[in-house]
Symmetry: D2
Subunit: 252 residues, 4 copies
């Protein structure tokens, strides 16, 4: 509350209302009154360093693409070798067979050491959350581009807080915490989607409100949707192909 | 938590953790433990129907424009007659001399009965919150226009939930609850501005997040600012002039 | 971002990254790129002063209690006379037959002119949102009580911002904007319920987060629920009976 | 919007408002209209696995407690050996000399392999954010206690989403993203503090709203405060002492 003031032409004042001598204090409590024993959080065995925790769904175990499909519903056919999957541009995007609501996603990705090109034509891919909202994958190591399109951005919306990119040839890690939107009956957001991203352990998106779809052209769009897959983009960019490994997800 | 499932190739399970027989219950409490007597809310005498409450700052008392100025700092010179102020297009916008942070604003406005024109060229004005964010004023009674530009919209951002417009010649009322943004050091929003608008007592904006400035062209912009005045727009629109009355504000 | 500093023992610095001379500016846009014409907000005819707008459900039309029932499912039997309903303590609470999610509610209430008693025993009733969360009704005109239990409070949680109470014998008005909670599968809130309350046109709750049920004793509880009725409380308080009139609701 | 319905006794309807044939579409845009090149995110060199990134403040480098003090302002005197600091119960809590607002904090902690005791008397310590809000440290490996007091809880408020505890003798990791509260002039929260916690890489707090101080007894309290240190608790618990290592923080 502001300090009292005379009202123009009315002569009224707001009187501060003071505590009174006989005002009761709230009754004292004891510690056990704020201690709950149930329900108990489930026990999860965490992975060592970068392994999946015990309650994760393994989306890529290094051996095959059994968890992945294509837009046509055919088997995903990117190259798998040495625990790593690599984009095959002739095969298009791949997406998970499973659909997810809110989740924690771990995914590692590598720009080829001999990457060529500049700006968006240098290691361009993307991780689409619920098949709607892209967290950009790009070589952002000493590669200027528009900031809402560099690695760690919510594409064409929110730049990363910092640029935590590793050099081409080294593995980058995204740890993504995604909260799915809640829609009103009319198809607009009651609550937006939100995303937190750690890039190589460095916070680059901090509970960022996602405005809508991550459009290449124009304003974000709001489209009602339910659970959706994770999509990995096979971008038209002619630079050398990006690899992924150690992909797991925990439903929240 | 989801139901347990076998992890691919790992053979681990998530075991549900059950309540145990000897789990303590939280200790019982008494009513007085959740009763606070201080600090006491200030006493405010509400107005009768549409009069200002006792703690409001009267921005227009029907007599003069003493609370208003222009962009040049000169005295505001719109027409004042019969408790009503009316836009004088030759005099430009007017804005309050006082600056505000978060507030509750009451303002009444009237489209002339003989209004001419269509779409945005029909009774166009606006109420700018902190001189940054426009709540649109327009004749939206049977006057099609883009919906994020009709009366009750956050201009070029969020359409009103419904169209609660009264006919030309009748008084419209806006009750606006505005929460000022909080900025980070880098000039971006830590928390966006939010606005709730009742148009003639009907909710048209429900704690709407304001994206940034309400630009005529292009995306909203984020510009760091502090307290700001209320601005009333003298729009270039050639249709007949809009009137205002009974304007008061309560700082929150 | 903070100013660069030397890292202890590492000798690294954070280098500010400057805009470069050849950085492109975003391409210019035109006004029509941010103008949407659909979907159009529904047209609602607002009430005159305190009448219901055209899209409201009339919960009390002054004639009968056809929209109300009791906990036993029997017809509501409070006294109806002269467009006013008055609590009959022998008949218990009444609640709407309809159930609601998010809504805008208008309700007027009056403390009898000859009210007796003090603190919570002076005109005690309540408006329960979705039958779960109480906005307190009480004579708070010069009647000290715990502040999170006075008129306009979210009972035992959040005091009103100010005390906008009218004298006994005069009509008080609540305009309540309520956003229903969203629950996670485990029965806890994904998003809390929120409430905004205008008391006689004065803001007393500003998008207040409701912590859980409004318990007489102890901490708020989180209980999963769906749509629910509006409940009006027949409190055990022995002071004179409270009246209500002009009750309408708009689903959001 | 809901489907139209007849209003009781008023005979009005809400008419759906349809798109019209000549409604303009928003003008098309080009990609460059949503591409920003400035300001550029600072470049941060991420650590390898668990090393600090280049813009972190190293709070414990394994060598000394130069960044820490006590409640009396005297030098912190816990035991430092082999890159590890260990609680000395005779020396009390330690807290950082620096004060922080919002931050990303990395801290590793270890329960002794030979821990004894049960419930809260088994490896009890805590990490206090801004010296106000405790993230609990405890041996929660097969050690039942109240769930809002186990490892990863916001103490006496919010249990962890899951129990991701490692065995006694192994190192646990907290990655904590903390957003400081914003206060109103009256000392209450305009925006609550929020915390996200990863425990051994597993999400245990997801942008959790902190209700107030983490009291041993009774309701959380709201106390206005500014920047504050990180406090590590030397708890009265008689079980064997807890160790910490690799502590770094990034201001947000």
């Amino acid at each position: 509350m502001k300090t009292p003031f005379l009202l123009l032409g009315l002569g009224l004042t707001t009187l501060p209302v003071l505590a009174q001598q006989n005002d009761p204090e709230p009754e004292p409590m004891r510690p056990g009154m704020s201690e709950y024993w149930n329900p108990k959080p489930a026990v999860v065995t965490p992975g060592v360093t970068m392994e999946a925790p015990s309650d994760a769904i393994i989306l890529f175990n290094g051996q095959n693409l059994d968890e992945w499909t294509t837009d046509k519903g055919t088997p995903a056919q990117w190259k798998v070798e040495g625990n790593v999957m690599t984009i095959d541009k002739s095969k298009g995007d791949i997406l998970t067979k499973r659909k997810f609501n809110s989740f924690q996603l771990h995914i590692e990705w590598r720009i080829p050491k001999d990457i060529q090109g500049t700006s968006q034509a240098r290691g361009n891919s993307g991780v689409y959350l619920q098949d709607m909202y892209e967290v950009q994958v790009l070589d952002s190591y000493e590669n200027p581009t528009y900031v809402n399109g560099q690695a760690g951005s919510v594409y064409k919306q929110t730049p990363p807080l910092v640029n935590a990119m590793r050099k081409p040839g080294e593995w980058n890690v995204y740890d993504i915490i995604y909260t799915a939107p809640v829609f009103k009956e009319d198809g607009t957001y009651l609550y937006h989607p939100y995303v937190t991203v750690l890039h190589n352990g460095v916070l680059v998106q901090n509970h960022t409100e996602i405005q809508g779809t991550t459009e290449y052209i124009g304003f974000p769009k709001v489209k009602k949707h339910g659970a959706g897959p994770i999509r990995l983009q096979s971008h038209g960019d002619p630079s050398a192909p990006i690899s992924f490994r150690n992909i797991w997800i925990r439903e929240l």
